[in-house]
Symmetry: C2
Subunit: 205 residues, 2 copies
DNA sequence: CATTTAACCGACCCGCAAGTCGGTTCGGTT
DNA sequence: AACCGAACCGACTTGCGGGTCGGTTAAATG
């Protein structure tokens, strides 16, 4: 049992540091040694726990990234309130640069999607799955918002979800280096503007 | 003189094929031999014309990509009409999969931006410059639209430009493989919806 | 203790792709 | 005809990085 704990601990450290560095420098631009050096581990240790670099990254996706996307972008949607401000808040939060040295995990989706697209079908499949789950949840909360009278009846919820996701992913390309406050502010403002156009017409009795 | 023509011709073929394959498979995932084989050229020929793979790609950016972005996204903005439908049209056109075997050049910006970000500062600088030019032109045409009464006075033109660019770039990540007609349709519809909210309030005399 | 085995070490292998370089071809000039 | 140099060839060098493998350490068990 003691050994199993040690094993889990090492794998955990590998995954955490891996996500951090892959996110910083990209998957293909990071060598295993880059990571192993920082953890004072050897090639042998690595291949004792993972069967390949690819297998390693899949672990990272399925353990860490999925979890972060759920926590930041999906679970906040579970609410009874008006979904539009809830969505804004979740995106605003997801674009927030990490609190205290954590990086903004929400950011990385677009980078990894682009990196693995045309390169590694399996991994890019897992990443698309994550996006799909997000989309399904967005659509569902939007439809609920329509029933509750927060959103106009004519609105195409699937289209709105797509547009939200596209603009969110695109922000990543724009915010690349400097965590530009100005860009984020502009984005949130325009998102709100857009959302205003989805509300039912105010009845001016 | 004849020789100079031959030289230009070869460089031109190299750049064209390079853009095509880099766009398909990504820069770092494409070896020079991949390109040279298709053109029946040798390493020697390549290094006679370019001093490195990087130098080669910079040529491609500055000759071909800049040109395409201007043609597809910037020049169409020069009009006296209402800028909003003009912008929609230019984006719709830029998202169109290439006519007759050409690829959609408009697409590639996001891919290359993501690929070179954190990898090659010089190239990513050139790509950002292109985005900046686009943004400046968008802002300028939006401001003109405001003066002409097509856009409400309260609108933040810089913010709108940022939002347009972000959503456009993000669409690339979503449309990756299948040139999904549905996605494009949804995007254009929502963009129009958003733009409607930028118009001055209709005076219901 | 003795033995076993999970966890780990690190030198080495090997393929890939950028870049080099000595040589060849060929159109143009004298 | 002799020559020059631009355009091009392709075998080779080189470095990098994923993956291998025989060996070592140390904790658990009898």
């Amino acid at each position: 049992m003691e050994t199993t704990l040690k094993s889990r601990e090492t794998m955990h450290r590998l995954c955490g540091k891996g996500l951090e560095i892959f996110n910083e420098k990209g998957y293909y631009n990071t060598s295993l040694d880059d990571i192993l050096t920082q953890l004072s581990l050897s090639k042998g240790a690595f291949y004792h726990h993972f069967k390949s670099k690819e297998d390693y990254f899949i672990s990272i996706v399925q353990n860490l990234i999925v979890q972060k996307v759920y926590a930041l972008l999906i679970e906040p949607l579970n609410t009874e309130e008006n979904p539009l401000p809830v969505i804004v808040e979740s995106l605003e939060n997801a674009l927030e640069p990490g609190k205290k040295n954590e990086m903004a995990y929400g950011f990385m989706l677009n980078d990894f999607l682009t990196e693995f697209n045309k390169r590694n079908e399996e991994i890019s499949g897992y990443l698309k799955d994550i996006l799909n789950v997000w989309e399904v949840n967005l659509v569902s909360v939007l439809k609920k918002g329509k029933l509750d009278g927060y959103i106009a009846r004519h609105v195409d919820c699937e289209g709105v979800a797509t547009y939200i996701i596209a603009s969110y992913l695109g922000m990543r390309s724009l915010m690349m280096d400097s965590t530009n406050r100005q860009l984020k502010y502009q984005y949130i403002q325009q998102l709100k503007q857009y959302f205003r156009s989805l509300e039912p017409q105010h009845v001016m009795a």
